[in-house]
Symmetry: D2
Subunit: 365 residues, 4 copies
């Protein structure tokens, strides 16, 4: 299995290289009767598009999505939904300089070791352009979740050492700055930091945080397909992600049971609630009805314009300078990718969960 | 899908509740011709056994494993390997006190929300006893990996705020203390901390670190089945794990590209090596030939002997005191579970990788 | 993947060899809340048991099934259901005669070619005893289907050239003769034919027919997971089955569209009905609400007491006489195996179908 | 799961409706290093193209295939291969007549029952055009198999009652007549029969036979993923197939063990051979090294120009005359679809089989 398939019931298969004909995704398992149009998908793709600011590559991608199948009279029919974005801007560059050299921090060497050769033009399947299929499919998953009243919102929590302040947090501000930080002061500081890095021909990492609201209790399977495990796989499969944590995450490891346990209570409407949410909305691998909160750590963009030491296919030590315009940080454009992967994981588990009870009572709208 | 299946080629299915007849696992997809006996499995199970020290529950589990199928003349035959451990020590306790109450920090409420009811005797499938199947299957995976020269070693990195020191790190010392810390001074401090917590009827969390040595470059699939993504799912599926990171993990988010990129060089034997290992042995989702290093954050044991506020099935606010002897920290016994899950994920990807090349050249011994 | 897993949502994994410790099956994905006890399973296992008549091997299998997990207070809990039958009657026979010889009509040679060696004691996984896991899991699937009002009934349609008569067909008579033929005159003739074959040290094949009643329209997925395709795989996976057909099957290939098309009409209760059922209850791969009818062709038992020419592992031509008592026909005991496999396939598709509509309206009780 | 995914290691996902933008397929899991170009695929698609003779619909499909990804420098890269054929000839017909009526012999009613509505334009996913994705992917599978020296050849064995003669059988003649019959006299008779049916506004069924040569012993998994079971599912998933048999198939049910068993012998080169091939090249679910032979029964084309009785969505009895030009028999164009599905099933099992032995010795070129 080449690994380009995700999900069991709501299953997607992505395809395409940065310098081929295009990129795309097919969704096999989107339920019938959901309203869907190209605009639903375009809205998500626009958020990952390059060229939005000085911090993202100027490459003009177009990203005009074609909805090729699975929708009739603006409703999904239950059959596969194929989505495609043609590649533009494929200037026939000269790749001679990098075709035999392994870029540090990239998968070049690993692809060669695995397959015996690689598509060296722009990274092939390890290109950031691969995320278009994820976001397009994720947009459909979000549409499905919204019919349950479930929302998925991610944002930039930090860039380098600069973190948003809990006091100033305002999700509405997220889309007002090109770094997708819900705190305008942090966003300004981060912009200044990135400008400095660009001058130094360097790059930054950062953290994306994601909140899922409206998820009913009972989503996720015990044992191996726990909701947190599935979210972890979904998010860790995004290139450049090096860490994942849910709720208090690594901080929980330093805490105590008496502090970390979230006490339950009955709210005035008679519903079961938790006084705190250290668990991040998941207990025993199953959603507990409170907000699901997780974070993903992104490493700094490996493509930097400085000379670096490396090796080539001939087994020689060489120096490399990675040319071209590269984002000094991938985090802002990755925010929507995190949302997409979270939505895909949850849509799949929500549908899986329809089989939990013999009488089919659970998790049906 | 009830979620008790893990892996695609090297696939396991676990079963069993803490208070049923037993627990077990079947492996469908272990290759033929591997030497295997019950002792290979017992060696791993012994490390997760309770009753090893004052920090683990005194429950006598027995854990005598039966190898029921798939092995003939001490070699695997390629057919399913069934392993079972009978439950002992099933004192018919009175569960009336907890059958209708949701324990804070446990999945009780979520199971009820999902299935309409739950097996309240000892937690059912969310019991720690569920990990026996993981460890038994993981022992087989480790045996398979060892035929490739691959080793998987986990240890306790921290308990609460007490962390092992890189200077004193000595893997050989890991098995000399019951906390599985490869640093005897840290182990002593942690023991004192745990004793204090036990007096306070409280519990601790901690971090497990795992190192995989000998893994050749080329293991892991691009896009969704990246090696790090599969490890993340495997490890996050262990109860109580709240975070996962690979290589520098969350620290990488604060770093710079010029620092975080691992430069390649050719070693005296002509092999491709990296000067640093910030990546934790994985680039582009594929192993790069250096050690794979990851960490898992465990939350504090939720079962504590203090009174806690919670609710019952009738929708009333109630107080609960969780009775019985519980480990004040799950980390020491979880060390071998982490190894098991890592080995299962890698065995599966190693076998998957045999299909990477048309001529079958890759990843065959 | 060693191939011992069946189903996606209602998924089973079987294990065990004829001469190992036992055989068993685990079901991962049986919905919660279904009434289930050991007697439900025993009732099905009794029908495949040997020793029922002179036409079945005298081997005493016992077949006492143990229900090890997944059931609490006589209800399924949604967690894996493990079932096991210990092997009895494992007389330590001398296998020297066959360990290096490939029996004609058996998989001995193929297993050796695949794995490099085989468990030669009684056929290993290709033993008829392997079907115990299928029948045990199938009994659970039947229990689930019965909660929808769906019944699955198979019977012997023919043995050799002797076929039941449509005029005399009476399902109630099926269990009155040990050949499970719903026509007592055909059963008598078949018994006489089998006695003659036994004298001649020969064996017979036959056809099993199966009828599924009460299946609502809409079960089965378009394209690859058509209901008929899934039934075909389920049934063709039973050892000795060489053909599968649905509705008019191979006869349909000789028919005309004007004859073969089943016309629809509205019955007095306003329901959509078909005047004929050439389709066997499936159109476009999806159930059409009428009875599903299919047939499976079984080859003659390959183990016969006559001398046969064959080869051994050393590459020599040799003569073999397969010793031991063998059923002169597998069909009667296979009837319940066919029911089991059909039930497993349908239970899986019924649950899969719960995801067909965004609002979850379909196929929920 | 919507059922448009086939295969585990060599996995495909098809998409597209007859009256949408196009149809296509993505292959996730084709090994790297295989020579592949558009012409390899076009050669197969040309054989299923309509408009080849008076017996196939005149619809001009174009079927110009685009190879969108996964190939670099005319070699597969191991990443997903996306293939697409745009729909042409989408005359905006008036579908008012059939949008609310259920055509006899078609899946219209079943789709409505399942999804709550359907894409009534030309049958949606149950259109014959859906097979383009199968054939395109099958062409890639055939290319892969040919690197092992394995060939897959299907042909028309019978149309209605007219069957090819074993004496006149000549595979070279298959492509000389538009009915793909390897017997020119039978082809002439069948052509005359079809002309008569067309005059009578009726249609015929038929049987396709397929022979796989060069398959080494050892392909197929024991128990559920037997080679014959996987072939059965693959072939029964083709629309209009009502029966499948391997080797002697249903005839075997009437035979005797002493006749049906294929005796082994050592050929002059020291290889294991069989004197007969009643088994059709498969024993115990695993290939035995001889030719694999199977047959598929196709029902008569359900679309006929005669008036037929049926019902509409409003629950009324109505008469329908299915308009448009339809093939009087689907068999000739289905021949290549059968080859495609067989190749896909075998490629998948061949790759799966690389995990059969711990040392990876088996089934590697």
């Amino acid at each position: 299995m080449a690994g380009s398939t995700f999900g069991t019931v709501f299953r997607i298969m992505t395809w395409g290289e940065s310098h081929g004909a295009g990129v795309g995704v097919t969704i096999d398992g989107c339920p019938a009767g959901l309203s869907l149009c190209e605009q639903d998908i375009k809205r998500y793709l626009d958020r990952r598009k390059p060229g939005q600011s000085k911090f993202t590559t100027a490459r003009q991608e177009g990203d005009e999505v074609e909805l090729l199948s699975g929708v009739f009279d603006e409703k999904t029919t239950g059959t596969p939904i194929a989505l495609m974005v043609r590649n533009m801007d494929q200037r026939s560059r000269d790749y001679t300089a990098i075709m035999d050299v392994y870029r540090p921090g990239h998968g070049d060497y690993c692809f060669d070791a695995k397959y015996g050769f690689r598509d060296y033009r722009g990274g092939g399947r390890s290109s950031g352009r691969e995320t278009i299929g994820r976001v397009a499919a994720g947009a459909v998953a979000c549409k499905f979740l919204s019919s349950y009243g479930i929302t998925v919102d991610a944002y930039t929590k930090s860039i380098g050492e600069i973190e948003i302040s809990p006091e100033r947090f305002d999700l509405a501000k997220r889309d007002e700055n090109k770094l997708y930080m819900p705190d305008d002061i942090a966003a300004e500081k981060a912009a200044a930091y990135l400008e400095q890095l660009m001058e130094e021909k360097d790059s930054a990492g950062g953290v994306v945080e994601c909140v899922i609201r409206g998820l009913p209790a009972g989503v996720g399977e015990p044992v191996f397909d726990k909701l947190d495990a599935c979210l972890a796989k979904a998010v860790m499969s995004i290139g450049a992600v090096k860490g994942f944590e849910i709720g208090d995450g690594f901080e929980a490891a330093k805490s105590r049971g008496s502090v970390n346990n979230d006490e339950f209570y009955i709210d005035p409407e008679g519903k079961v609630r938790k006084r705190t949410n250290h668990s991040g909305g998941i207990l025993g691998g199953i959603s507990d009805g409170s907000d699901v909160i997780f974070r993903a750590a992104f490493k700094p963009t490996p493509s930097i314009a400085r000379p670096q030491q490396t090796v080539n296919r001939a087994g020689e030590n060489v120096e490399i300078i990675v040319k071209g315009r590269h984002d000094p940080v991938v985090v802002p454009r990755a925010v929507v990718v995190v949302e997409a992967m979270a939505a895909l994981a949850i849509a799949d588990l929500l549908l899986t969960g329809r089989s939990a009870r013999a009488d089919g009572a659970a998790l049906v709208l």
